[in-house]
């Protein structure tokens, strides 16, 4: 059993988008489903629209959108893309032991 499961930590996520592009919409839908399926009750996410807050891109060094940033637990992890590959996202978030 994975050690992180025994001591559930709240996952703090940020999804960076730039307006309502198809990829951003897909990413948001994928993220919502993924959080409910795998992180129910122990996650918190916010969506940052860079069209409104371009200066925020620098803080997390965002080079492409959509980008998902796991701010907590440390270390910060980034997953780039529309989050359609669930396995890759779970691995990126360290929610699944690496094989």
């Amino acid at each position: 059993m994975d050690a992180s499961v025994e001591e559930p930590e709240v996952c703090e996520l940020r999804l960076y988008v730039a307006g309502q592009t198809p990829k951003s919409v897909t990413a948001l839908a994928n993220l919502t489903k993924l959080c409910e399926d795998h992180l129910a009750g122990r996650y918190h996410f916010e969506v940052i629209d860079l069209l409104e807050h371009p200066q925020l891109a620098r803080g997390d060094q965002i080079l492409a959108i959509p980008t998902l940033v796991r701010r907590l637990p440390a270390p910060v992890r980034k997953i780039i893309g529309d989050l359609s590959n669930t396995d890759r996202v779970l691995m990126g978030l360290d929610l699944r032991p690496r094989s």
Binding site: A18, L50, A57, I79, G81
Partner: protein
């Protein structure tokens, strides 16, 4: 124990952070390549920042498509010029005056051109631009735009004038232009109605008939195509610029942390207090960091090639030695371990070519690395060269014949259908599903461009999957006599001084403390004396001190209180000091800017000790 000012823990942490950044960057490129993400470009203005999400970083494909679409004269690719020319054409006989309206965002209509045959009435007709049609109007351009059908009025009567115009002022202007007959045709291209072209007769008293309408519709179709092309071209160019910017930002992000890491590793590798095993591991780390730096350089090269800005600095080059060195560097390990067999047959009798040696090495290393990468254990790599004497029909350019270098392997081979695409950027032969092999797929595109810049050719052959591949480089044997003489002369002058090159007092302007310290340690290792300054003001102060004058400046370009460019301008004005720029940015504009500021050389981070040493020697010779 401390390594170049760091504890072991700090070092481990730095390497971990570096690995994380590289992983992020590779992941970014993967996601963009596979269409899961759009590249983000943020332009910084004075007050506001603008954000663009770039659908594709392969915008040049749009340009190629346009070029293929037909003979499009380049001057017609400017939208404003296209419209003006169309309007001038219309009023040189067919109409007395004309107006072009284009559909804009959110149902708005823009009146972009109003032209009159009589220059004296141009001021009057310009007034019409103040009254662009509204999208819901039941007549005129708005109607044509909605329906896509032309409107013809053979004869304007006084009561017609009553119905047009949005207000009395508009009506007065319109009446003053004395319309007699009119034709309004759609500007339709590629299935979309882009706008409306309205033709009017007045003093000519011409009355438009059906055949005039047909002609006007044909004019409309042609103009619409030109307008659409101009718009697409504009969009593609903007995307291209944004793409270059994105790549520059990305490479900067990637390069910056590599500099201190490379510097620390180089110094640790030479530290004999460390166990041999540790030093071997460090060599492995360094090789991988250098590999990553090469990938970044490839990205930058690609943007230079796409814009025709890749420049060669040529001299007489011994091709045999260059190929031998490339083989040693790229294949040495796999040969020594017995993983692969090498057959080398460099028979070319005349091995001298007029070439940019580092660039040509890059080509051979690319080809050899590919051969090694794509050949399974127990395979063979064959490197052959031969001299092709000039044939009787040879053109002036190849009158001295060609050297042909062939690199063959017994590896995975290339599907016949894929042979024509492997020289495209971002392509690897096998694109089905997972990419089995690492790398960005830029090497062959860059290699081909470099060989062609040398006046040569690069081609590929393969009998199919699993049957190996052969890459052939053909280079003209040449000596541009005049230029060759110049280079030899320069070498003779420079040589004695290079041998006598003693220690220098170097001013190092660099605000990143880790980088500054690591670089200073390395330069001191070469026997130089180093003064570090973290700001422009500090550097100017250090240069003003007269006890031991500064002889050379090495400066980062982004300093906290100003730019390294300003610093260099000031130092070369006051003391005529030679300088070397160090920057994370390596686009040709950046290099040009630092050259103009007075830097003798512009190096892009990360910089290895060997390169820095060579450049210092070159700059000191030039001085």
């Amino acid at each position: 124990m401390s390594f170049a000012g760091r504890t072991q823990e700090q070092l481990v942490e730095e390497v971990a952070e570096l690995r994380e950044r590289l992983r992020d960057a590779e992941e970014t490129l993967r996601a963009i390549r596979e269409g899961e993400a759009d590249a983000l470009v943020i332009t910084e203005g004075q007050q506001d920042e603008k954000v663009y999400a770039l659908k594709s970083i392969r915008a040049e494909e749009n340009l190629r498509l346009l070029a293929d679409a037909g003979a499009m004269p380049t001057e017609a690719l400017d939208l404003a010029a296209t419209l003006q020319r169309a309007a001038r054409l219309a009023v040189s006989g067919f109409a007395d005056w004309c107006v072009i309206d284009l559909a804009a965002e959110e149902g708005r209509i823009e009146r972009v051109v109003a032209a009159h045959a009589d220059p004296g009435r141009q001021v009057l007709i310009e007034e019409l631009k103040r009254f662009p049609p509204r999208g819901d109007e039941p007549h005129g351009p708005a109607l044509v735009l909605r329906t896509g059908r032309s409107q013809r009025l053979a004869q304007w009567r006084a009561e017609c004038l009553e119905t047009v115009g949005q207000d009395p002022e508009h009506r007065r202007t319109f009446a003053a232009l004395e319309p007699r007959s009119s034709l309004q045709v759609p500007l339709a291209a590629r299935g979309r109605i882009l706008g409306v072209w309205s033709f009017y007769s007045s003093s000519s008293r011409r009355s438009y008939d059906e055949s005039d309408q047909e002609l006007a519709e044909e004019l409309g179709r042609r103009a619409a195509l030109a307008i659409d092309n101009a718009r697409l071209y504009g969009a593609a160019q903007a995307a291209n610029l944004a793409k270059d910017r994105f790549l520059a930002t990305l490479s900067h992000e990637l390069r910056t942390p590599l500099t201190p890491v490379l510097a620390v590793i180089s110094s640790l590798e030479g530290d004999d207090r460390l166990e041999v095993k540790v030093r071997e591991s460090l060599a492995m780390v360094r090789r991988n960091v250098e590999l990553e730096a090469r990938l970044i350089d490839d990205l930058l090269d690609l943007t230079r090639i796409a814009r025709g800005k890749l420049e060669l600095s040529r001299r007489q080059t011994n091709l045999r030695r260059l190929v031998e060195q490339a083989v040693e560097t790229c294949c040495g390990q796999d040969m020594a371990s017995g993983r692969l067999t090498l057959v080398q047959d460099l028979a070319a009798a005349e091995p001298t070519v007029w070439a940019d040696a580092p660039r040509l090495s890059q080509v051979f290393c690319n080809l050899l690395n590919n051969a090694v990468k794509f050949t399974p254990d127990g395979g063979t790599i064959t490197v052959r060269s031969q001299f092709d004497a000039p044939s009787l029909q040879a053109s002036a350019g190849s009158e001295q014949g060609e050297i042909v270098v062939e690199i063959s392997d017994t590896g995975v081979g290339i599907r016949p259908g894929a042979l024509s695409q492997i020289f495209n950027a971002f392509e690897q032969g096998d694109q089905g599903g997972n990419r089995r092999f690492g790398g960005l797929g830029l090497g062959l595109a860059i290699s081909k461009a470099i060989v062609e810049l040398h006046g040569g050719r690069l081609s590929a052959e393969s009998e199919g999957i699993g049957r190996g591949a052969t890459f052939t480089v053909r280079l003209p044997v040449g000596r541009r006599r005049q230029e060759a003489a110049k280079v030899i002369g320069a070498e003779r002058r420079g040589a004695p001084r290079a041998d006598a090159g003693g220690p220098l007092h170097i001013l190092l302007a660099e605000d990143h403390a880790d980088t500054a310290e690591a670089l200073a340690a390395l330069l001191e290792g070469l026997g130089h004396r180093i003064t570090i300054a973290g700001t422009v003001a500090g550097a100017l102060e250090a240069a003003a001190a007269t006890d031991t004058p500064i002889e050379l400046v090495i400066s980062d370009l982004g300093l906290p209180d100003g730019s390294g460019l300003d610093l260099m301008r000031e130092l070369s004005r006051r003391y005529r000091l030679p300088g070397i720029a160090l920057s994370g940015y390596g686009m040709e504009e950046d290099i040009e800017k630092s050259r103009q500021a007075g830097f003798a050389r512009h190096l892009t981070k990360p910089v290895t000790l060997d390169l820095l040493k060579d450049v210092i020697d070159q700059v000191r010779e030039r001085d």
